[in-house]
Amino acid sequence: MNRNWRQVLPPRLITIIFCTGYLLTYLMDLYIIRLGSPVPKEIGTIRMPLIVVASVLYGYYRVRAFHPFYSRKYREWLCLTPWSVDKPLPKGPVHLIWADLITLVPLTVLAYFNYSFYTCVPIIVFLGVYLVLTCITFEDEQGSFTVLLLFLAPFTIYPFANQYIALLVLVLLYILCWVSLRQFFRGFPWNTKYWKTDIVKEWRAQAIRQRVIGWPFKYLNVYEASKISASEAFLMSLLLTWWLHVIRWVIGESFSLGWLVMLAIYVALFRAIIYAGIYRPPISLLGRIFTGRLIIPSYDKIFIAPICIFIAGTILPLALGHLGLDQVWNFELCFFLIFFLALSLPPTLKKWRFTGAYRIGRHVQSYQSRPVSPQDQAIATFFSKKFKSSG
């Protein structure tokens, strides 16, 4: 316990900066009082953001400093030790301990004295940051927690906007997070992504990111991103709609159907560009017209999804409106459909890339050509001299 409470204390420098900043606001108060003027309310309002920032930083510190996910050297070292979940983590615990109250209680007390209405805000903010950062580290096995977190998080403000309910939701989420964290560390390091990393896949991703490989290797290789299943598409669309519902509630007014049309156009365009941007039709438009093959089913099937998305954002809401469906429900149903169709309608990107009736556009083949500039020539000379001198 003694060791733990010192481990989880925030870094000294941050503590000093916060305390100094906070005290400065009081010194300003005193100075203004000495001048004989009333203290403006604005000075008091600076203190609450300071407390919130301190809570955010503490939440960030509690995960970033102690979780092996965020420190490669620590993780690699830990992998070589006989550490197991039943032993304490050498750098300090990732899960919350009583010693965390040493930091959180003073922040809460300060919040109470400034704005008693926002007493729980420091703990709420701290828990929010802590949960998000912990959630990022989770593997597929803990995926259900991530989904749960994303679904339950809006309950912190919806439908009551009450800080005690928000705190209750976050505490509940923390309990679930703790269970997932135990499960995660039970599988460490063998079942973690950094242990199971597919090195070739990593290299390829890095090579593509850094544009080391391109035409034709980038488009004719065997590695592809995993596809989104229908259930995942459903869940993702539902989640987006749920967040939209909460945002609408927070704003306090419903969105107009014009937004839906805009959204449908953007999503349809995005999907069409993803599928047809690089992968062009096997024959040109002129070729289609003059050969009478106006529709090439094996290629044009990729436009079915964008058309459906467009219909879901334009014609469907009007039709549902005529049938008497409430505007809020109408909007949210169509919003859900737009994303669900975009993510789930066939062909999947993987299937299309491997089996589509496309040709790879000429722009892909020739965009890298560039004449050698004098500067480039100078660099080449420099490197060749360096090479010669190093033998």
């Binding site: 290299w203 391109g214 290797f217 040109s284 002129l286 070729g287 083949q365 060749s384």
Partner: protein, 259 residues
């Protein structure tokens, strides 16, 4: 084995390939020859999977191209395509590019480093291997492109005009000797588009002559001579097959000038 079956292709209105069929046996080195703009690169693009035939299909080792995800993955593991104008990462070094391509094809890491060094030496790129590719000359860029195809160790090479693009004499010799050795050992199957006949005869097991979207002849060099009824060098055989009237035209042109 590469099997091109009744393939038709056109980008716009004009057909580029018309009912082309071609079979390349494993370990064969086939040169595709013919005048410019007659469909050599298109045929290679179809074999490489860059293009989709309007009609017909292409099979690689019994798997039809773009038929199913699994089959296409199997094909892509085996085949490497070097276009006439490949992408080169201008801000990376030649060696980095070679290693990245080798890793893409899952060449063992220890072998990869060694192979990259050998290729760099072979194509006389030692001095530039660790310099950014943007500083390379046209010929050096061509060389690094060829190295990238060779480093993959893929059993099927589709090479679009590998001998053109500013290669110096040593690189021409190195490439032709490598291809010849691979062809003699029947280690890899190579299909390459070559516009000049001089290099082809000593290398290719078979030559496919393509003109006006059709395969005019597909045989060994001797077989082509028999077909053309000519005993001269391959250039004359090709001209006799592709442009039977060309010699007559040359004679009449020269006669006209002299008289």
């Amino acid at each position: 084995m590469i099997n091109v079956v009744n393939v038709w292709h056109h980008y716009g209105i004009k057909p580029i390939l018309r009912d082309v069929s071609l079979k390349v046996e494993p370990g064969e080195l086939v040169a595709v020859m013919g005048p410019n703009g007659m469909g050599k690169s298109t045929l290679l693009g179809l074999m490489a999977g860059v293009l989709w035939p309007i009609k017909g299909y292409v099979e690689i080792d019994g798997h039809q191209r773009r038929n199913s995800v699994e089959e296409e993955i199997e094909i892509r593991k085996k085949i490497v395509y070097l276009p006439d104008n490949p992408y080169l990462p201008l801000y990376n070094t030649g060696r980095e590019f070679l290693l990245a391509v080798g890793r893409l094809y899952e060449v063992e890491e220890e072998r990869l480093m060694e192979h990259a060094e050998q290729l760099v030496k072979l194509f006389d790129l030692q001095e530039n291997a660790d310099a950014p590719i943007r500083s390379y000359s046209t010929g050096q860029k061509k060389k690094i492109g060829i190295c990238s195809a060779l480093i993959t160790k893929a059993p099927i090479l589709i090479l679009d005009e590998p001998f053109s693009g500013g290669l110096d004499s040593s690189a021409l010799l190195a490439l032709s000797q490598i291809l010849k050795r691979l062809a003699d050992r029947k280690d890899v199957t190579v299909v390459m588009a070559v516009p000049v006949p001089e290099l082809v005869e000593s290398l290719a097991h078979k030559i496919a002559i393509i003109a006006h979207g059709k395969i005019l002849a597909y045989d060994t060099a001797d077989g082509l001579r028999r077909t053309a009824g000519s005993t001269g060098d391959l250039a004359k055989v090709l001209e006799a097959l592709i442009h039977p009237e060309v010699f007559k035209n040359i004679e009449s042109y020269l006669d006209g000038r002299i008289s």
